[in-house]
């Protein structure tokens, strides 16, 4: 067996969390350093895996397999391909940035960072699991710390409600998907939870029709599919900054990834049957999400709803069942993850300084925090789909795919682009330009660490925007065989 890169990516945060639990709780900087090092190891290895992936060979690589519960056909089977690689990379970047942005976290840091690391281990695990049972184990591993983090460190006004709502939704979603997965297990009758082997079983049409829907929708709840989305803005808003970043940045992608990997990959016939209906929900996501974002007065809610809108493009790309559409969806996942991470980092920085998130109470902050303003505007332009930034290529591909399959839907979804431009411009102006409020005269610019975080994310948006091949070459190796299955 070769070097277990993927296992180390997954378990480095868990080891970090264990070390943190062993440290005394007053040693804040030691705790943070351990968290940073373990996140850094994961990020570094995910970068290594991303660039070490053999594009010419394609398929699953860096595989690791071990028996786990042989009587049930459950194994510890990890691997990665063109679809999961960008997500791995994304998760690595976001957790690294998330730990850095939490450097000022002095409220029970021991528990905070331990939970944060466990959470991210779960996310990494989901992206590399090739065993359905394992996938669910990691999934639950990610959800539970999320509950504790929001409930314990979130915005006091809504955290109990939001944490509860989020957890309920995600668990209900996962239970629904789990029902489908168990059905797959028994229907296949080969006594395995291995995704690659289950994908080779030709399930009969009636079965696929019946069980695709619960699996897809169960996962799509986590991706914020309308009308199962209201947990997400509430959850984002209530969560502390790093958790919002992880939550909108990568957790929602777990949903889309599950829907793709489990639903569409194993049950392609069911996908053909249902996706043409589900696409209607996705366009509601896009347009309605942007409209609701436009109506918000709370800065963080604007970003929260913008995620609903942008994740709509991800789901829409998936429903097209075309190479260009699914490539676009994959790229959009990466792009949105970085972009929204950037947004939440900015909102967090501003809130810490001004103690308000109400847009009418802000203004002129560009004078005090020029670097933050520029970073936000770069993210905003990515969000509006401006060329030169990652959002443009992603949305262009999603739309090109959607036009091929559902032209009218593609046309309607464009309304979302105008509304997005309107709210991004409105928010950018009101928060960063216009007159500075007297009570904000004394605020200071971002620290070096914070600038570094914003720089990483803004730079990624630009690099991917100018040279999308860096991701798309890899994504294509995963998407092309998948689409062959859907035909």
């Amino acid at each position: 067996m070769s070097f277990p890169f993927l296992s180390i990516i997954v378990f480095s945060p868990i080891v970090g969390a264990l070390i943190i639990t062993a440290l005394p709780k007053e040693k804040h900087s030691a705790i943070k350093t351990v968290a940073l090092v373990s996140a850094f190891i994961s990020m570094l290895l995910s970068i290594y895996v991303f660039f070490g992936y053999d594009q010419a060979a394609g398929g699953m690589q860096f595989e690791e397999q071990m028996q786990w519960i042989p009587s049930l056909g459950i194994s510890y089977h990890l691997g990665t391909d063109g679809i999961s690689l960008p997500l791995l990379l994304l998760t690595g970047v976001i957790i690294f940035c998330g730990v850095l942005i939490s450097w000022t976290q002095d409220d029970r840091p021991k528990e905070f960072f331990a939970f944060l690391l466990v959470l991210v281990a779960g996310v990494f695990g989901v992206f590399v699991s090739l065993d359905l049972f394992l996938l669910f184990v990691f999934y639950e591993l990610a959800v539970l710390p999320m509950y504790l983090l929001i409930g314990g460190w979130g915005w006091p006004v809504t955290r109990e409600y939001a944490a509860m709502k989020l957890t309920l939704y995600l668990l209900v979603g996962s239970v629904i998907a789990l029902v489908g997965v168990i059905a797959i297990y028994f229907e296949a009758g080969i006594g395995t939870f291995d995704i690659m082997r289950l994908a080779e079983v030709g399930f009969d049409t009636g079965f696929q029709y019946a069980f695709f829907l619960p699996i897809f929708v169960g996962f799509a709840v986590l991706a914020g599919l309308w009308p199962f989305h209201t947990w997400s803005p509430d959850g984002h808003v209530a969560a502390p900054t790093a958790v919002s970043m992880l939550h909108a940045g990568v957790l929602m992608k777990m949903g889309a990834y599950g829907a793709l990997r489990v639903g569409m990959f194993i049950l392609p016939v069911g996908a053909q049957k249902w996706l043409p209906w589900i696409v209607v929900l996705t366009v509601v996501n896009v347009v309605y999400g942007s409209m609701v974002a436009f109506a918000q007065k709370d800065f963080k809610y604007v970003i929260g709803y913008s995620s609903v809108s942008h994740m709509g493009y991800v789901a829409m790309g998936l429903t097209t069942m075309t190479v260009v559409g699914i490539s676009g969806a994959s790229l959009q996942m990466f792009s949105h993850g970085i972009m929204t991470g950037l947004f939440f980092a900015v909102v967090g920085l501003i809130y810490r300084q001004t103690h308000t998130r109400q847009i009418p109470e802000l203004g002129g902050l560009a004078r005090k925090m020029p670097f933050v303003a520029v970073a936000f505007i770069i993210g905003g332009m990515a969000s509006m789909g401006m060329p030169g930034l990652s959002g443009f290529v992603a949305e262009f591909q999603v739309l090109a795919g959607t036009w091929q399959t559902y032209p009218v839907i593609a046309a309607i979804s464009l309304i979302g682009i105008v509304i997005t431009a309107a709210y991004i411009m409105k928010v950018s102006y009101k928060v960063f330009f216009g007159p500075l409020k007297a009570e904000h005269e004394g605020i200071s610019a971002a620290s070096v660490i914070e600038k570094f975080v914003l720089f990483i994310m803004a730079a990624l948006l630009i690099v991917v925007g100018l040279y999308p091949s860096i991701l798309l070459n890899v994504i294509n190796t995963g998407v092309v065989p998948l689409v062959m299955r859907l035909r």
């Binding site: 509860m164 030169g388 105008v418 509304i419 091949s469």
Partner: protein, 729 residues
């Protein structure tokens, strides 16, 4: 030599892009260095641009064999999107115009933004950065090899337009109804964005049909074009061919960018930007890009005409263009802002070009695109010179008498104004406008009176008269008579950085028309413009009646304008004679409507803007108050109630049973004294203690906190599933 320049084409948009990056990142503090970098980069682009253009002019059969250079950008499955350059006649003439006009305006901006004076703009350097980025967008659009990079450049220009219109974003007016630069920028961005989305749809549609967006694979691939003309469009387009549908969708982008009716509302407000911006973006380049796009996709329009002899998309284009031309020239008559008149004039002239393309006058449309860019940039820069010379007074009613105070500005403005009016023979505007009218006339002679060409010809002819009239009004009010205000009284000529570009542009405004004189006059093969740009299309035959009519309308309009406004100049505070006259014949309301741009701003505000705001509120309430969250919360409450209920059952029955057992044992022990007291006591103690212990434990679980119930429920579900699975295996 030709190849040498062609191979350098890709540098043309790169220089301004670098200039932008350098200025924004490094040199903002140094104004002189910033403008030098910006103008230096633009000069290099201009040199290479003219090198490419003249090489193209000298290349025989360039139309049939365009030059192409590509590099892969990103893959999508089997296909790849490219970045590349494309040199063909249309590109070459546009490049000739754009690089030169950009350079002139860059130089002019030094003076306009007040370099070296105490009025220098605080963001002077940034201005030069932004206009460089804009130039990158425009030049990128011109050299693009495919529609994707065209669209990207198109969007970059939209962003720059926003940044530059709102350049003075802190500016506020005492009158809350007057639009501020910031609002104007936002309006321009959003309104044109609506158009952009149609363009995007058109591109998506084309991509779906062709699997490529390269010009070579699509617009210049006759086989594909014919196939597209025979493919029926999506049902939503009625019985149109796919080619027509795609062209119509793309034309939506033009309606936005070139400010055609009904998306024209942003351009007049865009005048809030600095005047070089108005000249650069809102007269010569960006708004012309819309026309350039239609000219670019002309093969798509033409193929349908060849196949069907009728193209509904072209009828649409012709209608929009002609209607816009007359509509906005009517509004222009009643505007008092010196730039306001020019804004509506621009909309109107763009309408001419669009209408020309709509009736199939490809060459005439392209010709007018080029000549108009020169004279309209000239007029805007002239008005900017007036604005600077008169200390930012823009109201023509407050100007007057500038002829002798600003002679260079005056004479160049007259040259531009005459070109705009189509003053016969000696102006460029005459030749290009006449060709459009002649083509429409020619087509209408073919197709009869009940046809689009007749409609186009009629409206454009009336508009030509109105154009001459408002131009004479503008020149008279601004330059003739006596100064009507303190500012005009103390006007001064502007610096050479401003007047020299005016003179250079004036030269082209007069002479550029000579490259496109009809062959009937200059001899066969000597209509260079037609020969170079569109020899695959038949030349527009000269029509003497049309030429005479348009010449007399131009002279007549100018003369009438002079009679009304120039012969007896207005006194300060005097009412516009036209308004007075219209009030006398009970048409005062019409004049009022013209001055208020026929109330389109108000209409759109009441419908689209208010409508979207309301809709956003409604959606939010659906989410938060009315439907989705109430359902979720209700489900949550039911869950809580169920949990409370089970807890109640627990405490009543389960706990009761446990406690009961304890009690029963106690009672039994009391009854059965025959047992060893120690044994019984020990037993009772044990049970009692364990009951107490269990009760305590259970109490801590039943905290009434929903999350705990939920955890229990979840763990139970998972355990049950696990057991079930193990059982099944």
């Amino acid at each position: 030599m030709r190849e040498f320049f062609f191979n350098l084409t890709w540098l043309i948009p790169i220089f301004p892009l670098l200039a932008f990056a350098i200025i924004i990142l490094f040199t903002q503090k140094n104004q002189k260095l910033s403008h030098s970098i910006s103008i230096g980069a633009m000069s290099l682009s201009w040199l290479i641009g003219w090198g490419v253009a003249f090489s193209a002019f000298a290349t025989p059969h360039l139309g049939e064999h365009p030059f192409r250079l590509i590099a892969p950008w990103f893959p999508t499955g089997a296909t790849t999107f490219n970045i590349g350059i494309w040199v063909d006649p249309l590109m070459a003439v546009t490049l000739f115009m754009v690089t030169f006009v950009c350079l002139m305006i860059f130089i002019y901006s030094i003076g306009y933004m007040g370099y070296g004076t105490e009025e220098v703009d605080p963001n002077y350097s940034r201005f030069f950065g932004y206009i460089a980025l804009f130039a990158c967008g425009m030049l990128g659009l011109v050299v693009s090899e495919n529609l994707l990079t065209l669209f990207i450049s198109w969007e970059i220009m939209g962003l720059c337009s926003y940044l530059l219109i709102g350049f003075w974003f802190q500016k506020n007016y005492p009158d809350p109804n007057k639009i501020t630069p910031r609002q104007a920028g936002l309006k321009a961005f959003l309104v044109t964005k609506v158009g952009d989305l149609f363009l995007l749809l058109g591109i998506l549609y084309l991509y779906n049909q062709a699997g490529s967006l390269s010009y070579a694979d699509t617009l210049f691939n006759q086989e594909f074009l014919h196939q597209l003309a025979h493919t029926p469009a999506l049902p939503i387009f009625g019985g149109w061919s796919a080619a027509s549908a795609i062209a119509a969708l793309m034309f939506g982008g033009t309606v936005g960018k070139s400010a055609q009716f009904p998306l024209h509302v942003w351009l007049p407000d865009a005048m809030e930007g600095p005047t070089p911006v108005s000249a650069l973006i809102h007269a010569a380049t960006m708004v012309s890009a819309g026309v350039y796009l239609v000219a670019r996709i002309f093969p798509l329009l033409n193929v349908v005409l060849e196949v069907d002899h009728h193209n509904p998309a072209m009828s649409l284009i012709a209608f929009i263009g002609a209607f816009t031309a007359i509509f906005s020239s009517i509004i222009a008559i009643a505007q008092n802002d010196i730039k306001g008149v020019l804004a509506f004039s621009t909309i109107s002239q763009l309408g001419y070009m669009i209408a020309a393309l709509g009736v199939g006058a490809y060459v005439a449309g392209a010709f007018h695109l080029i000549t108009h860019a020169f004279f309209k940039a000239l007029l805007f820069m002239g008005s900017g010179s007036v604005i600077i010379g008169c200390h930012h007074e823009q109201d023509m009613m407050e100007l007057g008498g500038l002829k002798n105070k600003m002679p260079r500005t005056f004479w160049t403005f007259v040259a531009g104004g005459f070109a705009l009016s189509g003053f016969p023979i000696i102006t460029a505007g005459f030749w290009s406008k006449d060709e459009i009218l002649a083509h429409a006339w020619h087509e209408f002679m073919h197709q009869g009176v009940v046809s689009w060409p007749f409609f186009v010809w009629l409206l454009l002819t009336i508009a030509a008269f109105l154009t001459a009239f408002y131009t004479a009004r503008q020149i008279s009010l601004t330059f003739l008579g006596k100064p009507r205000s303190h500012h005009a009284e103390h006007a001064h000529e502007t610096p050479n950085t401003m007047t020299i570009p005016l003179m250079l542009l004036a030269f082209f405004a007069i002479t550029l028309g000579f490259v496109g004189i009809p062959e009937e006059i200059v001899g066969h093969g000597n209509n260079w413009f037609h020969h170079f740009v569109g020899h695959e299309y038949p030349a527009t035959p000269l029509s003497i009646p049309v030429m005479l009519l348009s010449a007399s309308l131009a002279v007549g309009g100018l003369g009438l304008g002079w009679l009304v406004y120039g012969r007896k100049p207005l006194a300060h505070g005097e009412m516009d004679p036209l308004e007075r006259g219209m009030q006398r014949i009970k048409l005062g309301w019409l004049y009022e409507a013209m001055r208020n741009k026929f109330y389109f701003d108000e209409l759109y505000h009441a419908t689209f803007i208010q409508g979207s705001l309301k809709l956003a509120e409604v959606f939010y309430k659906i989410d938060n108050r009315w439907i989705i969250d109430p359902i979720v919360n209700l489900a949550g409450r039911v869950g809580v109630a169920l949990a409370e209920f089970s807890s109640f059952l627990d405490s009543r029955f389960v706990d009761g049973a446990v406690n009961g057992t304890g009690k029963v044992v106690t009672i039994l022990s009391r009854l059965n004294r025959i047992f060893d007291i120690r044994v019984v006591n020990a037993l009772v103690d044990l049970v009692g203690k364990s009951t107490q212990y269990a009760g305590g434990k259970l109490r801590s679980i039943q905290t009434g906190r929903v999350q705990n119930y939920l955890m229990v429920a979840l763990v139970t579900v998972l355990m049950a599933l696990g057991l079930y699975l193990i059982y099944l295996s």
